[in-house]
Symmetry: C2
Subunit: 65 residues, 2 copies
Amino acid sequence: MCEANAYLIREEELELIMEAVDVIEPDEEGLKLTSIFGEQRFIKGHIHSLSLIDRKIYLRETPED
Amino acid sequence: MCEANAYLIREEELELIMEAVDVIEPDEEGLKLTSIFGEQRFIKGHIHSLSLIDRKIYLRETPED
């Protein structure tokens, strides 16, 4: 299985927001994350980078206006 | 090993642009892709979506001005 963990890049740290992510796809205002367990989460942001051998996905939030 | 294949989303089809991708990170004008073999490729675009169990990364090119 090749799921990965999704982290939000904060100013000083990384915040783990979902483990075992399978699918990330665009949603109305950002991204919809779905884990291998069917759990879903919505993030207003974009995919910043990937490191798949480390099983890491890095996301960055869209700044609020 | 959890590398994935990277595809560019074209109007009518998907174009496989790199197999066995490990890392994708922002580069000056877009993205730098690095495979598990150390091969590198630069794409002017962004990460559109992921389907990791299927080992697929979907990229979209930035339209030329």
